[in-house]
């Protein structure tokens, strides 16, 4: 569930939004992008150095149309959309996916 969507300033030729969610992000979000033929998901876990840290992730489709940044346990993600003809549709699709999450 999206509790708030805030447009965030981005100095590149992109549009960025910060989505505050109804619950902390968990593995279910990553599971939505598990198809490696469509998406590149990179995860960074530094808890062996910083025990309080959260596991960060980046999700990108192969065509580079958007980029999701976030961390497991945070209650928000940012999504940056490439400004092109598909941007509105891409954004609607990602927001629909976030809306389905708890």
């Amino acid at each position: 569930m999206i509790r708030a969507a805030e447009k965030v300033y981005d100095c590149l030729h992109r549009e960025r939004y910060r989505y505050t969610l109804g619950a902390a992000v968990d593995e279910r979000l990553l599971a939505e992008y598990a198809d490696t033929t469509e998406f590149r998901v990179s995860v960074y876990d530094a808890r062996h150095l910083l025990p309080q840290a959260r596991v960060t992730f980046r999700i990108e489709p192969q065509d580079g149309g958007f980029l999701i940044n976030g961390a497991l346990g945070l209650d928000y993600v940012t999504i940056t959309y490439l400004r092109d003809a598909r941007m509105a549709a891409t954004r609607a699709m990602q927001e629909s996916l976030l809306a389905r999450l708890p």
Binding site: L12, Y44, R54
Partner: protein, 426 residues
């Protein structure tokens, strides 16, 4: 083919040295602003400096890295992969021969970054890639750097559909600099730092190990900007050669003008790169759980800074009234001494501007509230009203054991100029 992870980050000095060249992180705001500052001094012929500075470091590094194989195709592949890993974009060297050739690309950091920052340029702007390719041609084929020419004939920043670089043989059409001395590093003392709950060393280690994602265009789009991992001695060479030309042209006043420009570039670096970091999910995930006070934020961002290859920074003192940091082996000092010997004035401009920028973001800009890092916000923080100003109290390039910077809150000067928001003039 090429991976920075294969070259260990030296946590004793907080440097990453690849093929003999220290590599540092900077964003397109800093890269383009620094270049434009140098170009804007129209009475100085800056193009040969900008191209020559890049050619110098690329040639030195690639001569080292490529010595592992004599196969030309493998050498070209390594150069292409290095260029991409640096976040510089995409290049295809397939058409190059020992006599030169054209390199065409639809993605370079400088061309795209310039257009994003300043809008369309009237002339090509990618002096870095021009020099890099000159150094690459010489290193791949074992040629003297002084026997290579390079120029950019088309540039994305002008509205062209691609960048075109033309390489050929002949007397170099860029500056060939005198051989640098071997680097000399100073020992790091066991200075006392203020107590904090922030685990500074763990942050530095975690950030240094964090992968920098390179996208399909060969760019590193992260923290809301384009990041690069570039040669510390490129920044050093173009800055210090420019400063010396300014000194020849205007004496001591030339040094002061150059210093103002380079410190301003440091403000821009802090505002955009460090500000972008402190408002990122990565910051919230790795560092934020340890932060309670603004002083903690200061410790946290300098722990992150220590993973950027700039040298080893220690926090000596920080409060709302001011801050002091001590840096061992800051890349500007180490590079200056390699190039020009002992300095007669402080030259650690990046960290001077960087410290003021961090203080402005934390204590005046409330960076913890995640403000939008717009040009207007920059203007408000750095150009109007009270702001932190920093000065060098010691500098390793002058023979001191370390560089120390002090920042304090200051009232605005009546004649302050705004440098950042003007559109491109080149």
């Amino acid at each position: 083919m090429f991976d920075f992870a294969e070259f260990g980050y030296d946590f004793a000095t907080n440097r990453l040295v690849v093929g003999g060249e220290p590599m540092v992180l900077h964003c397109h705001h800093y890269n383009c602003f620094l270049q434009r500052s140098i170009q804007d001094a129209e009475y100085i012929d800056s193009a040969p400096i900008l191209v020559g500075g890049a050619a110098e470091v690329a040639f030195a590094q690639l001569t080292d890295l490529l010595s592992r194989t004599a196969d030309v195709a493998a050498r070209k592949a390594t150069v292409e992969a290095l260029y991409r890993a640096c976040g510089l974009g995409l290049i295809d060297l397939g058409a190059l021969t020992e006599r030169g050739g054209d390199v065409r690309t639809r993605s370079t950091h400088y061309s795209i970054g310039w257009k994003e920052k300043f809008g369309r340029s009237r002339t090509p702007v990618d002096f870095f890639s021009t020099g890099f390719l000159a150094g690459a041609l010489a290193a791949i084929y074992g040629l003297p750097l002084a026997d290579v020419q390079a120029r950019q004939t088309a540039c994305l920043s002008t509205g062209a559909t691609e960048d075109v670089f033309v390489l050929s043989r002949g007397p170099a059409n860029f500056r060939i600099f005198a051989q640098r001395q071997s680097p000399v590093l100073n020992p790091v003392a066991d200075d006392a730092e203020p107590a904090t709950s922030v685990d500074r060393q763990a942050i530095t280690r975690a950030v240094a190990a964090m992968p920098l994602p390179v996208n399909a265009e060969g760019l590193i789009a992260i923290f809301g900007l384009y990041l690069t991992r570039l040669y510390g001695n490129y920044y050093n060479r173009i800055s210090f050669a420019f400063e010396r030309e300014m000194t020849e042209a205007a004496g001591r006043q030339g040094v002061e003008v150059a210093a103002d420009l380079f410190i301003e570039a440091g403000h821009i670096c802090a505002f955009n790169t460090l500000g972008g970091i402190m408002t990122s999910p990565e910051w919230d995930a790795l560092v934020l759980p340890m932060l309670k006070t603004r002083e903690d934020w200061f410790h946290g961002i300098f722990a992150w800074w220590n993973a950027c290859g700039y040298g080893l920074a220690k926090v000596i003192e920080v409060s709302a009234t001011g801050a002091t940091i001590r840096i061992y082996n800051d890349y500007e000092s180490v590079g200056y001494r390699r190039m020009y010997g002992t300095a007669d004035h402080g030259i650690s401009y990046l960290v001077t501007g960087g410290l003021a920028g961090v203080m402005n973001l934390i204590y005046l800009g409330d960076i913890h509230t995640k403000p939008a890092l717009t040009p207007e916000f920059y203007d408000r923080l750095f150009k109007r009203g009270r702001a932190y100003k920093a000065r060098m109290t010691t500098c390793q390039a002058m023979g001191d054991p370390y560089t120390e910077i002090r920042a304090e809150l200051a009232e605005p000067a009546a004649d302050e100029r705004r440098l950042e928001d003007a559109r491109a003039s080149v």
